[in-house]
Subunit: 143 residues, 2 copies
DNA sequence: ATAGAAGTTAAAGTCAACTTGAGGTCAAGC
DNA sequence: GCTTGACCTCAAGTTGACTTTAACTTCTAT
């Protein structure tokens, strides 16, 4: 199947200007053009966009994603590099999750703090409470 | 206890230029200065920095954090607003975690994919494998 | 054949969150 | 008194990831 830039934008929710920007950066090396110079996206480019989305949401910068896509073009000889890259990315995302979970726990503490203050109508009711007045699962996340 | 900007930078790992920038943005409304005009950080500012770190790692922009800190200055009347803000932030972080977990699973699939390709020496060995040749827990994350 | 929607380019603009640079001041030890 | 390192301000620069603009072309439907 073939798609115009507008169709791809509608399918993926990515702005056409962003797709042009990715193209300018060389992320779609195999993309074709109509005789009049109009971009023709195919399944290949849609697959690339999925990989871009995955790597982007793992926090990888565009230029590193571009480098990875270049490795894909090189074929089998670059399998090792690509494998290592994904393992590093996985480790990275796992620590991002751990950090976000810590953040979530601090926010849970703050929610409890403000629920309590809100009920009392004043922060004085919570500010200097001893640790054992704090729900056990939130105690370590007091800030 | 009182700290110089350099000490706070060492304690927190935040660059002195960043601390000055935060100060310029009005995040330390109670911070004092020495007679010579030098910033004197106290426990109050260290506590603020912890809140800033928490909200920043939840993805909140600096100007919204500033707005929250302004609410804190208003005292008890703003407890409701602050409470709602933390509840929204918690919801937000929970969906960020869910999205990152999805990303992690896609990366796990890619790790398996490249482990397999690497062992075989060629991507041909994995590219078009049927779904049931993929580890069950990764099947849904094929990209 | 023509209108208008959708596409094209290159270059400039935007935004957040800092960081850097220039030029000057403060504070502690000798 | 003087050096030296840490501090100060203000303005400008940086980075990444887009987005916008202007001027133009192509495609599609009537």
């Amino acid at each position: 199947m073939h798609y115009s830039i507008g169709e791809v934008s509608d399918i993926t929710g990515i702005a056409a200007s962003t797709l042009r920007y990715y193209d300018r950066e060389g992320m779609f090396p195999a993309m074709e053009r109509s005789s009049g110079g109009i971009r023709v996206f195919s399944e290949t480019e849609l697959a690339t966009l999925k990989v871009i989305a995955c790597l982007k949401s793992s926090g990888m910068p565009i230029k590193d994603i571009k480098e990875f896509l270049d490795w894909c073009q090189e074929g089998d000889p670059s399998i090792g590099k690509r494998r290592e890259m994904f393992h590093r990315r996985l480790t990275e995302v796992e620590s991002q999750i751990a950090e976000l979970e810590r953040t979530r726990n601090m926010l849970r503490y703050k929610c409890w703090y403000y629920d309590t203050a809100s009920e009392a109508g004043t922060e004085d009711a919570v500010r200097d409470l001893p640790d054992d007045a704090i729900p056990e699962d939130l105690r370590d996340y007091r800030i």
